[in-house]
């Protein structure tokens, strides 16, 4: 308690001392239990030196000249957490259409909803000032996938998303993480969805030049965009059923795209196949009920089984992945309680999502050269009673206040 208050007060001073557009900080975090999420594993009583927003060194008794020093008192330090497949920054209040920017068809009322629009780029609407972002940042979530269509997406192709960094910067989107999102959900004929996918792919990469009279599913822009993703790009497929996952693998192999499975309630049934094809799965470890027939066989052991089979996994909250993106940490703990090794669970919140979305050499680990997105925790980072005590992005200490902490302090018992 005392330590927390001290941290908060220390931070207020930091804020006052820094102009808003402060340069990336130099920083030394001493005496931490450092979960590197590298081959070095967990280092006890270790120091992490940050220079110019990047990790410069990880070790003991590192030099301190000219840098801000934070004593961790042995507490856990992890890379910043990946918030999952979210609508952070593009949805403020889910049921208020004026605050919802992730639906590619909202601007085309009256048009066929299933029309694929790969050219829809949701990141153009990303609002770094969303209060929802602050609420999740103070819980250690430093970056997240900003996703078109989000959970509601009935479109076969809902558009493009990318990872955004969550420190309020205007240029939040990290380019190499760009991903095209496709949905193969129950509710529309699966054969029909694969038919549309094939047709779209054919239009994007026509064997012979298309004539005006040819059937057109995509706009000219859509064809250009899809062609890029079909030439080695990353396509995330929202898909649960084992047999649909097989189809996704076949389609991707045929088209030359790199698939990511999102959801994957039955992915454990095809774990060997996924491992062999090096196809990762972004899953919600809490899914253990058949919300649809596609999820029969859903189990709390999905994460553990996939990991054991050698599939790279990352976590997301499928129930409310935007406002409660922070819940991925709890979900990771539940996965551990159901057989996933602890280190693998932390990796599924840090290094694995960075790898899956093309940022593995810069994000998600505590190692020299990596971006200094860090979180200092009050205890075991996967434990529900633990809180983030300090979050750094690019080595800059983030405000540990949010709209929710403001409300808390206004209505604290005895405060009024």
């Amino acid at each position: 308690m005392r330590a927390l208050q001290f941290t908060a007060r220390a931070f207020v001073c930091t804020l006052a001392a820094l102009p808003l557009a402060a340069p990336a900080q130099d920083l030394l975090i001493r005496n931490a239990t450092v979960h590197t999420v590298t081959e070095r594993g967990t280092l006890e009583r270790a120091d992490v030196l940050v220079r110019n927003g990047r990790i410069a060194a990880v070790g003991t008794n590192l030099a301190t000249a000219g840098v801000t020093v934070v004593d961790a008192n042995g507490r856990p330090l992890t890379p910043g957490l990946f918030g999952g497949i979210t609508a952070l920054g593009v949805v403020e209040v889910s049921q208020e259409p004026t605050t919802v920017d992730n639906d590619p068809h909202a601007a085309e009322a009256g048009k066929v909803a299933a029309e694929p629009r790969p050219e829809f780029d949701v990141t153009l609407a990303f609002n770094p000032d969303s209060a929802v972002i602050g609420v999740n940042r103070v819980e250690g979530v430093t970056y997240a996938m900003v996703t078109p269509g989000a959970a509601s997406g009935a479109e076969v192709i809902s558009g493009q998303g990318a990872i955004a960094r969550l420190d309020g910067r205007a240029d939040a989107v990290v380019g190499p993480s760009r991903t095209l999102f496709a949905n193969l959900d129950a509710g529309v004929s699966r054969a029909g969805q694969f038919m549309l996918l094939e047709q779209a792919a054919r239009e994007a990469k026509p064997a012979t030049p298309m004539r005006d009279s040819d059937f057109r599913l995509l706009t000219p822009t859509g064809r250009e965009v899809l062609a890029r993703y079909l030439s080695g790009g990353r396509i995330a497929f929202s898909v649960d059923r084992a047999t649909d996952i097989r189809q996704v693998l076949a389609f991707s192999q045929k088209q030359g795209a790199r698939p990511v499975v999102v959801g994957g309630a039955q992915a454990w049934q095809v774990a060997g196949l996924l491992a062999q094809a090096k196809v990762p799965v972004v899953l919600d470890p809490l899914v253990d009920l058949p919300d649809s027939f596609d999820q029969i066989g859903a189990t709390l052991q999905n994460a553990a089984r996939l990991h054991r089979a050698g599939v790279r996994i990352a976590f997301t909250n499928l129930n409310d992945g935007t406002h409660n993106a922070r819940k991925v940490r709890q979900a990771a703990g539940v996965a551990v309680a159901n057989g996933l090794p602890w280190d693998a669970a932390l990796a599924a919140l840090t290094a694995n999502p960075a790898e899956i979305f093309g940022l593995g050499t810069e994000y998600g680990r505590i190692a020299p050269g990596y971006v200094a997105d860090l979180v200092l925790w009050s205890g075991d980072p996967l434990e529900v009673t633990t809180v983030a005590q300090q979050v750094w992005i690019d080595g800059r200490a983030q405000s540990m206040r949010s709209r929710q902490t403001e409300l808390r302090d206004r209505y604290r018992p005895g405060a009024r």
Partner: protein
């Protein structure tokens, strides 16, 4: 004739509130016979606010017999709980299991009778599908009792039912014997969105409140009709009895009063006004809860609990003062405007005043599996905010306080001697993400044993499906 009259008498009596309405859908729940069991050497949170270390819990004949140290074995089966924690069975006051069952196919959408803003005559129990796999996963999370409610599309959605979380082929086999019905009402955005979208009232919060008040005003009138009928019938019968003795000519001409037509909607509302039905109100905003408290006073009924209450922390003192529970989430928020002002500390702040009644609820097939973790999050954030909330206090949020809101606090919710032996043995401190319910007892019978997968109950629905959970 005699039978008809006695039926009339009964009807008249309960419609007037003289006694609880007879329930045609009688519970057929039967406790499983169990040998006496002594749980040895556990950390016990008994649900009354006490914590006992190295303590024993003795169950016999489905009841808690004793909680203490070094209890005599007395022929009981001994369960070594060294290093384990023991709590009362968990109670969820807000579930839609069975009425929004998995799989969530169109055929399973039985939780909202979305055809009229006031459907007080519908009962959730008539939509409960006992084969919902969610009941079974909730049991694995230590839930032994739950209230299944209609949804929140309507101003007055209908009656909720309290169930024992045991495998049953019929709803009646799960129905908690002697538990009162709940009445589900809803504030705010949902009813006005659903009906405003159909071009009818309510389309505003004004319309919402007018709708509740008119419905209860009708119920008051209905109650008066039955009161009047009962008075006239009593007078008539007295007259008939007198007439028998005198055998005067013309006495047979007096006509019996006409019985008012039964109205299932208004019967329910009269039950709520008479205190036979617990009133549960889905309500997010503090200002709306305040309006609902005034409305309840106008019609003379008590609110058992506000559910969801994302802003309950803004009026925590008033809730405690009026004896109204707040059934809340730890962290769910933001999906609509009325859920925008959430804070982690909501449950802890509602819990803070004297005589408070904070409850952790789920409203979710996922959340109900981890009520202990929801409580852990709320407890931890409360502690961070400076409130002293030890585990023995926080466990009340999902046991005794929940029992109070459901009107079954005399039966379950604590490990006091004489209570039903609903008990969970946890692998460790349940306020941890790593804690698992190892054994779950209902009425003293072992209903879930994590160590014996083959003996775990399973829904009919999952039998013979291509992929089982176990591997």
């Amino acid at each position: 004739m005699k039978i008809a009259r006695s039926l009339l008498l009964t009807l008249a009596a309960w419609a007037a509130g003289a006694q609880a309405a007879p329930d045609p859908f009688t519970s057929t729940y039967q406790p499983v016979a169990a040998t006496p069991t002594l749980i040895r050497n556990a950390t016990v949170l008994d649900g009354t606010g006490r914590r006992l270390d190295g303590a024993d819990v003795l169950m016999r004949d489905g009841k808690i017999v004793a909680v203490g140290t070094a209890l005599a074995t007395d022929g009981a089966t001994v369960v070594d709980a060294q290093g384990r924690w023991v709590t009362p069975g968990l109670i969820d006051v807000h579930s839609h299991l069975g009425v929004y069952a998995s799989p969530g196919v169109t055929a399973h959408q039985d939780g909202n009778e979305m055809t009229d803003p006031v459907t007080a005559g519908v009962w959730a129990e008539h939509g409960v599908w006992p084969q919902d796999p969610g009941f079974y996963t909730a049991l694995a999370g230590g839930v032994t009792t739950l209230q299944v409610l209609p949804g929140s599309a309507n101003l007055i959605g209908g009656r909720g039912v309290t169930l024992r979380n045991v495998a049953g082929t019929t709803m009646q086999e799960m129905k908690f014997p002697g538990a009162p019905h709940g009445l589900k009402m809803a504030c705010g955005e949902n009813p006005k969105r659903v009906y405003g979208g159909k071009g009818r009232s309510p389309s505003t919060r004004m319309g919402n409140v007018a709708g509740y008040r008119q419905a209860f005003a009708d119920a008051q009138d209905y109650r008066r009709q039955w009161d009047k009928y009962e008075r006239e019938r009593t007078a008539y019968e007295a007259q008939q009895d007198e007439g028998k003795g005198r055998k005067k000519k013309g006495d047979g001409d007096a006509k019996p009063p006409t019985q008012p037509k039964r109205d299932l909607r208004l019967e329910t509302l009269v039950g709520a006004m008479n205190g036979e039905i617990q009133v549960h109100i889905h309500c997010y905003r503090a200002d709306e809860m305040a309006v609902m408290l005034d409305f309840a006073r106008e019609f003379g009924f008590k609110v058992a609990a506000f559910h969801h209450g994302v802003e309950a922390y803004k009026i925590s003192d008033r809730l405690a003062k009026e004896g109204v529970c707040g059934a809340l989430w730890a962290d769910w928020w933001g999906f609509k405007m009325e859920a925008y002002d959430a804070i982690w500390e909501n449950i802890a702040f509602v819990d803070a005043p004297a005589d408070s009644c904070a409850i952790v609820h789920s409203d979710s097939a996922e959340g109900i599996q981890r009520l202990n973790q929801e409580a852990a999050k709320a407890m931890s954030r409360g502690q961070q905010a400076g409130l002293a909330i030890p585990p023995e206090r926080a466990i009340r949020w999902l046991t005794s306080n929940a029992a109070r809101a459901l009107g079954i606090a005399d039966k379950v919710g604590t490990l006091e001697p004489g209570k039903l032996a609903d008990v969970v043995i946890w692998s460790r401190d349940p306020f941890s993400v790593y804690a698992l319910a190892e054994r779950v007892y209902v009425d003293g019978a072992l209903r879930y044993d994590r160590g014996a997968p083959a003996a775990q109950p399973e829904s009919d629905f999952l039998l013979g499906q291509p992929a089982g959970g176990a591997l």
